[in-house]
Amino acid sequence: MTDTVASITSMIIEKLLANPKVPRDITGDSKIVEDLAFDSLAVMNFVMEIEDELDVSVPLDRLADIRTISDLAVCLAALKADGHTS
């Protein structure tokens, strides 16, 4: 497995910073909804971009537990390690 939580976190931050509306000082601990002002639809659409990058699909119920960028990275790393979506 080459995708670690740290490398996925970096990739997520890089993708987020491509959006000029996202604050410049985000870290793994940044809260996606509160700190980035994403609504639920924006979160789902952003996750879709990351899914393509990592070739995984994130079931919607897993998103409910995700608060921070690191939480998302942990979820994606676990899905990637499983090799499937469940």
């Binding site: 609504d39 639809l41 924006a42 659409n45 079931p59 919607l60 119920d61 499937h84 979506t85």
Partner: protein
Amino acid sequence: MTDIFAKYAGLKTAAAGLTAHSPRNPFGVVIDYPVSATVGLIEGRETLLFGTNNYLGLSQSTAAAEAAIETVRREGVGTTGSRIANGTYSLHRRLEARLAEVFRRRHCMIFSTGYQANLGAISALAGKDDVLLLDADSHASIYDASRLGYAQVIRFRHNDPADLDRRLSRLKDHQGAKLVVVEGIYSMTGNVAPMREFAEVKKKHGAYLLADEAHSFGVLGENGRGVAERDGCEEDVDFVVGTFSKSLGTVGGYCVSNLDGLELIRLCSRPYMFTASLPPEIIASTLAALDEMQARPELRKQLYANAEQLNRGLHALGLNTSAHVSPVVAVTLETIEQALAFWNRLLDLGVYVNLSLPPATPDQRPLLRCSVMAVHTSEEIDKTLAVFAQAKQEILG
């Protein structure tokens, strides 16, 4: 005591912001009464209705009204019971048989609303070991169905069969059933699903396909059966869900299928079992509307001609509209302030359309959702286009 409404503080602020910048509440419009299918009395003025789902104008069908009156006198105003208890009259069975015949399917279940049809069919079909694959722009009833059931839920990119293909490929070792859900015409944008391509993908992966033809039934296809009929792939669409509250002008929903298992859903679908069935007069008027829809195919032809006139006209004004010609035309604007001002000005000038704001829109931008009817006259469409031109000039410059 914790304020039970505290969690809606953000919503309260947003709603207050909207009404502060608007002479009227955009989500509180009252139509005093419909003068005809295309004209309603709003704020005491006759207003052209270009924001309904009454595609064939059948909400004002005389035959449907007469059928309802006769039935309500004979059978009363309601059933007071669920379909699995005292809420199934012979009329309910008759409508199910009639719809099965129209769709050329063996089975049909009717629900009390179109929302409940999606809720009831999808939540019961996709169980806890299954995977539900939803188009990203799916209607709220489809998302809500995914929350009522226990299946794993995966979104794929809107109208993108290649993305669905990738996501089904990732599930190749998953043992559960896979149910793909798409809509024929998308209610907010008027986008039309590439149904044949979706059907090919679902066959390749051994998945099931459910098409919500709520906005396309009575509108597309040689016989009005929707996008699947138009694309010649009805056999590959396992379940069709739809509603009576669009082209048929009444209220209620249905699911049709050739799969015998659909009958089992009657015994496990909570939105089917635990709600009152449709009142008999609604069933009777729906049957009459269905007869009228089939007897007057010219309505569909006129609807398409009207859709072309409205689409072309809005496009010619330089407004941002979809490339699809469908009875739903969305004008996309950049800011909520623009959309609010535009929508208010249209209403001041005598045209009602739907205002749709993010996050209820697909791409975070506000929409003016316009819809056309078969019974709009060419003059009414021209007048609306002129009003759009004036509002555009005043608001956007």
